[in-house]
């Protein structure tokens, strides 16, 4: 385990050093990517000025969802970049997987360490900033449980999105190219989770409740933290399912990944 961690640090250390090579370009990149979060928030703020609220949710409450999702997705995107289906599909197609498989180091660890994108820092910071603004705008009656629960939600979200990335990457073992449809669940999922789930049509919400249980990761925890009533009358423990769902999805993804690895066939390039 210590050896693995050591190796991981070495793998990403090289990348961090190289990415910091051009300081100004790096800085612009961080600002540039993070701008997207802030500008989306600004759009939201402008639109709420005009419309007031969305299905009973105020700007602060929606920003609370959005900030959590953005920060968590940013962390995931930094840690799991190696599994980013777009990127990973290319590695498989070019036969670079074979090179990695030849090395006497655990393949999963190598993929983890193969890509570490520092500029995601921007998205994380801006996500946290939006979350901070949101917490300032809404009135949360803080209790010890709620305080402890906040980081638990964020970590669960990271696991959930990471699991989706791994599943997307595993599919490329068979398709040899990233299938853009996976984006529907990763980027589309994160977009969807940034809004209160009660705005969606039943079929869509049910899909993201029973097939991909995204609803338990932000929406239900937010209902609990913000003290909002549950319009769908789920069991009382629904807000606390987040860590189980997060870890569960990651576990399923990991099993699928290992299954995929056993069935991997090189493209021959």
């Amino acid at each position: 385990m210590r050896h693995s961690l050591d190796l991981y640090w070495r793998l990403i250390g090289v990348q961090i050093r190289s990415q910091l090579q051009y300081r100004l370009a790096f800085f612009l990149d961080v600002v540039g990517t993070s701008l997207s979060t802030i500008l989306t928030f600004a759009t939201l703020a402008f639109v709420f000025q005009r419309f007031g609220n969305i299905a009973g949710w105020t700007l602060g409450e929606v920003a609370f969802l959005y900030g959590m999702v953005e920060a968590a997705f940013g962390v995931m995107d930094m840690l799991f970049s190696g599994f980013d289906p777009q990127n990973f599909g290319k590695q498989v197609r070019l036969g670079r997987m074979d090179q990695l498989l030849l090395r006497p180091v655990d393949i999963t660890l190598q993929i983890f360490g193969s890509e570490f994108i520092m500029r995601r820092l921007g998205r994380i910071l801006q996500g946290l900033l939006v979350l901070g603004i949101a917490i300032g705008m809404v009135e949360i009656h803080w209790t010890a449980t709620k305080l402890i629960f906040m980081p638990v939600i964020l970590v669960s979200l990271v696991c959930f999105f990471g699991g989706l990335f791994i599943i997307g990457a595993t599919i490329t073992f068979w398709t040899y190219e990233s299938i853009e449809v996976v984006n529907i669940f990763t980027y589309g999922g994160s977009e969807m989770m940034s809004y209160p789930m009660n705005i969606y049509q039943n079929w869509l919400r049910q899909f993201f409740t029973y097939i991909i249980p995204a609803i338990f990761l932000v929406y239900y925890p937010a209902l609990f933290l913000l003290g909002k009533p549950d319009p769908f009358k789920m069991p009382i423990f629904a807000p606390f399912l987040a860590p189980f769902v997060g870890l569960g999805v990651l576990l399923v993804a990991w099993l699928f990944w290992n299954y995929g690895l056993r069935h991997y066939q090189s493209t021959g390039t």
Binding site: L24, T43, R119, Y195
Partner: protein, 263 residues
Amino acid sequence: MRLFFELSMRSFQRQLVYRTAALAGLATNFFFGIIRIAVLVALYGTRQEVAGIPLQGAITFTGLSQATIGILSLFSWYDLMTNVYTGAISSDLLKPMSLFHYWLSHDFGRAVGQLLLRGLPMMAAYAVFFGITTPQSLWQWIAFVISLTLAWLVSFAWRFLVNLAALWIPNALGFIRFVFILSWFMSGFLMPLRYFPDWFIRVCNFTPFPYTINTVVEIYLGVLQGPEIVQAILGQIIWGVCLILVGQVVLRLGIRHLVILGG
């Protein structure tokens, strides 16, 4: 001119090769469209019309904005930058047409390909599943087509211009990406600009961005009428011409100190 269309044709044909990719992209865009419709429907609530846009118009907007992603290359366009860094620009410069025309013809073919593969199918899918509004008169249709073409020109002109940054900075990717993100916000892609406060619309109008998607959407939805349409199209022409001219000057300055490393 013949060369222009020949090159466009090649680039168009290349688009047609990636039909499955287009289909997958279409599915993704459609899904995002569904989310954006849900958001707008919930925002409207019981209101029939906000800022001059009826609910059905807002739904149509989400379709139009998703349909133009490919046509206007809204998410990224780094081709010219890449060619500067790989040195392939040297062979581009040797071609018997100016660098601007070469890329313009290339992008024209790409845009037409995206229109057929992603733009029209998207609008058709929207028409079937959600119901869309359409222009009310032949004149409005003509104005829409002209404005869409000019939107492409304005979009290409600024994409060409910001890609030229590669001639100065060793890693222009961050800067270009920055401008792209700014454009989503200010072009009316995320939300129709009409929903925004007046002061912010005025700020946006100092940039070329609203003259891409926002103008096209407002003409299609019939938010603009008569002289306003003419004014909007004139604005597109002026921005297009200005950006092309600035691009030419910047290109000339940049080429002067371009050094291609042999290899």
